[in-house]
Symmetry: D2
Subunit: 340 residues, 4 copies
């Protein structure tokens, strides 16, 4: 591996895999998408042809065995993340893996051990950290612009719930949806969360409750440094994808609004109005997917620290588990109660 | 008493008393400010002279004994509210009383009993209900415009903490400051709160902690109908008085921004900026003080229901007590645990 | 006249007269409303009774003859302004007069001469200068905050046209409506306008055109110092009263938005919207009427300069006349072409 | 030419040429960038290598002679646009050409004649029509959402003036900068402009005046259907690239705000502020360059009407010429005065 180009194999050509593949092929000059694999070989071949990728495989192990590849991007289903991380590390490949790493801390710890032993780099796909809005809020905190953080509020609401079949296998709202917000909370404040209290409800669809899950929640966070936070989740905001954060600090506050498809404001005889916010996570966060991948490529090539580590991936899962326990037992749960 | 003019005596001519007096004298056509009293007779006399009030007394009992007065407005220190309500009720006067009614449920219950026995009307001074912003959000809920409420967020932050001497006798942040937000939560959602969980911190000034109080808090609320809410309090937002609410409902969301002294936006080489929000509660809420008093006068003269009842006053105090217990014991507290 | 209280007689108790009377009676401590007159004596008496005014007259000359009065506030119909200024000046009264002073420069010059000879003070009721939004923009310019002015844009649109009977006697849109904006332009930039070019149209109602007037216009202004400006007028903005200005300066820009009845933003499945701006000039500009009158009282009592002079009143009328000529002749018109 | 892929040769690999080339190579699936040319062969070769383009030439005529190419994209200097359009048309290529077509109507008419004779398609690069903000305003008008247009306001201000050497050869502000706004005016209102009045000034830099040009202008437009408009230009808005439009219609208004790099609002002890708008036209309008080119490819392949025609290119130049004449002669100029 020279330090000018990272040769990458991508595993799994589903929705997010396609996005990463296109970015790697065309929009990240220091990356070369050298191979793709998918158990659906036809899908892999189609993508490979479209993007001019030299190698297409059904079995990801063919990629891991290829000495020409420096790194892999894992976009397989969640339950394959941890074993693939282990295999990739064993093969000496640097790894970008979609979130969540796994749904149990045991699996995560095993894969992180493998990464550590192999001495490879691992980045977890918490793309929202790379969103221009949230990055600006982080900068407001890390630069001291708004002083010490006192209060954090994260609003994270989907435009509508996923299919009930998905809900049943999702691992629950806290691990499926709130996990992004747990990572965002740690990212923004720059501290660990020591205790959570989760209040949950079924307000959107009784079928979600019947499946043992929640669709509405408020999760209170106590940070190690003394700040407090709350995450506000709903599976359905009829006006669209609602993704905002707000921080109060000792020297000021920072808040971000939603992104809209345009800035036009229409005033008529009834109201002053504008079009709804971007409704689909791929529209809302497209830039951040490009930025995170470019950051991964740069970090590996330049030997720089990885911006979202495996430990970050683990911490978010631990918070999800703690939140569910807090809700089930209706009490605050300390993170040091959560063991692998 | 005819139904065209309400003859009113005002007790206590401190800051808020002066505001009510001026409104009654000049800006509420159906009210007549007929008498004022204050233990500081000089202050009462000065105000009376300025506003052309016929009767000025040091002792409020002189007002209660005056058969020409239909109603009293109680603006005395908090610990006198409950006994004065009892005396005024016994004298057959309708009553407008500043919040909080008292700091213990026992005192409140005694005064509400007196009001009930006397058959007079009692309105509590939760003026924020009459603010145009919050009233619009309430209307969005009560009219069905945004459907069933799912999530409520109240931001209520002071520009700076009160003097530490005041903190020591204030009854604590939950009864002194959050009490407004407890009332706002009940008002907006139109339901009782069944359980609270309060996370508190000392982030603004260690002296507040040394005095046994908090200056930063997140209070989670569970409403009887299943909605969830959170109140976000700080004793110091350096950018000014921060008073906002936001509700997510099944059919939409409603949110209010702060009030600013003007709408001007200045763009220079450094940023796009505007002047800070109104910094002082009297500027921010002045209109609501006028509106609440006009509503009281109308309700008494027209025999209409009082918009903010004694029971509302009691419920907010019960929530404050529950929140403090929740914080002290670090557990959710049900409201039915809170007894007089 | 002592320097603590200004004794005022108010002439004309129509809509704007009532507003000024109430402010003088109750809300301007240094003013005393000592007398009111109206040819409709019944209306004058009703207002006098309501506000506790000692003297009520049908004939304004009774007020002018009253040595107890220091000043008069002239709220009569426009065609009486100039003669009443002359009479009041001759009687030695300080004068606050509603705009416009008159519709011809000849009348204005005669009345300003009378004022000058008598040595009394005269303030013209260009209340918008005292609006918090516009005052903030003026401050951005006068303080140097945005540098030297380059471009000015004034949007001034009514929610709907006046009755066609009014249009016929109004003096035309430039003298009836744009006159406020001409004053605003001079006030904001702090310079005289040397040339105007008026493009007008009939877009709202053909009846307005049939009456010889316009309902839509763009008036380009060239200021003495080199800045350019444009006034954008319409007799009907269906979304309400639209009153905004924007200035580009060498060091920045300043812009004001409309005032709304509340800050609530509602998001539903169709749009993100808020209530329409304040629709009625009395709601939009109420505070400015109070502030301008308090400024008049202070200026007279303290011997300070009058904030809106008779010359300001004259200049706005000259601009209106120039704009009409520009439109009629479809050419730029210099202000030095406009003679009395 | 099949109707699935358009084989394109790109002429001129300067700043805008590179943007178009990258879009054609990677982001427009129905286009294939088959060749590039530039008199600077080295630059052409570097771009060709980066994008994997098969053919690289110094002389654009080699592209025109290549039967495998269906269309050309002309990104050469302005004075070469018209002759290259003629040559390309003669070679039977469809043409996308950057604006302006030329600086004289004679040249434009000759090139449009050539296009007509050859029966090829020609699109002019007025990319702003494809910007999401302006497109939304156009939709508000064309759909009838805001009724008949009455007043248009276009704000178009650069963050800073170009180098004075550029100013000298630019053709003047009206042809170099305002030309975009003339096209925007015609696009938004959907009508021709019949008369202009241009007020110009030198406010930003005396050197611009010394070069015979302006840096500040207000151009009044009278549309064929009776609407009025004004374009507000400055060569320097210190807060960044200011690109806004606003339309008042009979049934409502539509206005767009600037685009900012993020939505974060920071509140500190001094102000409530946000980061400056996007400062560089390439950041501000990047999406529109992609969208216009995709629209060209679609129109050619599908035999659909071209969205921005050669006549549109001509009309904008005619308006620029009329505006300059209006300014020089200080009078309104009718478009029918402007002859080739």
């Amino acid at each position: 591996m020279d330090n000018r180009t990272l040769n990458i194999g991508l595993i799994g050509v589903g929705r997010i895999g396609k996005v990463h593949a296109e970015h790697l092929a065309y929009r990240i000059p220091r990356a070369r998408l050298a191979a793709v694999s998918d158990v659906n070989l036809e899908a892999a071949a189609a993508l490979g042809a479209k993007l001019g990728v030299g190698r297409v495989e059904a079995d990801h192990r063919a990629l891991l065995a290829d000495p020409a590849l420096d790194a892999v991007v894992i976009c397989s289903p969640t339950d394959l993340h941890a074993p693939m991380i282990e295999e990739s590390a064993a093969a000496g490949k640097h790894i970008f893996c979609e979130k969540p790493v796994a749904r149990t801390l045991g699996e995560i710890d095993r894969s992180l051990d493998a990464v550590a032993r192999a001495g490879v780099k691992l980045q977890i796909g918490f793309n929202r950290r790379f969103d221009a809005n949230f990055a600006r809020v982080r900068r407001a905190i890390s630069s001291g612009e708004i002083g010490e953080p006192h209060l954090l509020h994260i609003v994270s609401r989907d435009p509508g719930p996923p299919p009930i079949e998905y809900v049943r296998v999702s691992g629950g709202m806290f691990l499926d949806m709130t996990i992004h917000d747990f990572d965002m909370a740690r990212f923004l404040i720059g501290e660990e969360v020591e205790e959570v209290f989760a209040a949950g409800a079924v307000r959107v669809d009784p079928a979600i409750g019947a499946a043992g899950d929640l669709d509405t929640a408020l999760v209170t966070l106590k940070f190690a440094g003394g700040a407090l936070g709350v995450i506000d989740n709903s599976r359905r905001a009829v006006y669209g994808y609602d993704q905002r954060v707000e921080v109060l600090g000792s020297a000021g506050g920072a808040a971000v609004a939603n992104n809209h498809p345009n800035t036009a404001v229409i005033s008529d005889a009834a109201s002053v109005h504008r079009d709804l916010p971007l409704n689909f996570f791929m529209d809302r966060y497209l830039d951040s997917f490009l930025t995170e991948m470019a950051a991964f490529v740069d970090a590996v090539l330049d030997g720089a620290p990885i911006p979202v580590t495996g430990e970050d991936g683990r911490a978010a899962v631990a918070l999800g588990i703690a939140a569910r326990r807090s809700h089930d037992e209706n009490r605050p749960v300390r993170l040091d109660e959560i063991k692998a």
